[in-house]
Symmetry: C2
Subunit: 200 residues, 2 copies
């Protein structure tokens, strides 16, 4: 786990190395041999934890989403008002993903093209888990009489749809180039959405 | 031009044939020979109008956007209220694109992967032209005191961002499968956006 003081497991070390090698070589050129060398273990040890390069890349993406969910959960549980929490979460889901892949945007299309079909099912699960976190804050706001909405989970899914076009999966490396631009766009969508939800 | 009583030009006939062959063969397998045969002209005649298969495919996509812009313009100019026009336009931009490619969704990823880099610049232009049409209705609503917004064009761009995740370019063929689902999603985003824009 990044930023943690705990010693890394071999599995974590392999996933950290994956992140560096995706940036250095890209997905296609990266080999299991490269990964083993980067971690300082034998190739066989890599295969003790993962069955294939594809599985490693998918686990790497799983890791990004796990860290994002922790961030979103922390915001959802924080003491700020419902509006502030919701706004922060909408922006975080865009900006966190941007920051997680921005050092290898050039090879991102290649990675996504390779994993596309297997990523699809995962993305459904990612979005559903994210929606649960958003639904919590929406339900809070509904209870407090701040938000005007019927079904919190249903509304959460709409909020994800309305910001999904800003995620790396939809954007090209070229469009992903400008962090400030993406951040500003996410803020503006968040503000418009918030205005639509608030009781007037 | 589809649905028109005027005789088709050769250029139009080639683009209509492209639409049919994309559905029958997909982009990769479709050849200039196939196209010439489908139209009933010689291969050389195709090259009088287009320099390459890539250019034909791009012109085919241009044609979809031209027809969409006409539809959006007609809605923007109609007699309905600003809210109704805006809502219709937001849904139309999603559903029209869906309907234009739904007969070849299976080969859509292949087509987009091939054209991706050249499509990028075009997409910027498409979105900018769409934004102009949306800005007109937003400006109407602002003038009438119905919408609360600062800059119509800036707001139009946010509305496009908020519905862009539902366009075929972002979705896979698999996700594109369900027209009703996509339509419902676009309606819900449109309603939330409208609520955010209306003066309360």
């Amino acid at each position: 786990m990044k930023g943690s003081a705990q010693p890394k497991t071999t599995r974590e070390a392999i996933l950290d190395a994956t992140d560096r090698l995706l940036s250095r070589y890209g997905y296609k050129k990266m080999t299991i041999d490269d990964l083993a060398r980067e971690v300082g273990i034998g190739k066989g040890s890599v295969y003790l934890h993962f069955t294939s390069k594809e599985e490693i890349a998918l686990s790497h993406i799983d890791g990004i989403i796990e860290r994002l969910k922790k961030k979103l959960f922390a915001i959802a549980e924080s003491k700020a008002s419902c509006e502030t929490r919701l706004r922060k979460m909408l922006i975080e889901r865009v900006v966190f993903r941007f920051d997680s892949v921005q050092h290898y945007t050039q090879s991102l299309n290649e990675l996504l093209a390779h994993l596309r079909s297997r990523l699809l099912d995962r993305r459904k699960r990612y979005f559903e888990e994210e929606a649960q976190l958003f639904a919590k804050v929406l339900a809070d706001g509904k209870r407090q009489g701040i938000f005007s909405l019927k079904d919190p989970l249903e509304t959460a899914r709409i909020l994800l749809d309305a910001t999904n076009s800003l995620l790396p999966y939809s954007l090209s490396a070229y469009e992903l180039g400008d962090r400030k631009e993406i951040e500003k766009k996410s803020q503006r969508i968040a503000d418009l959405i918030l205005n639509g939800l608030l009781k007037h």
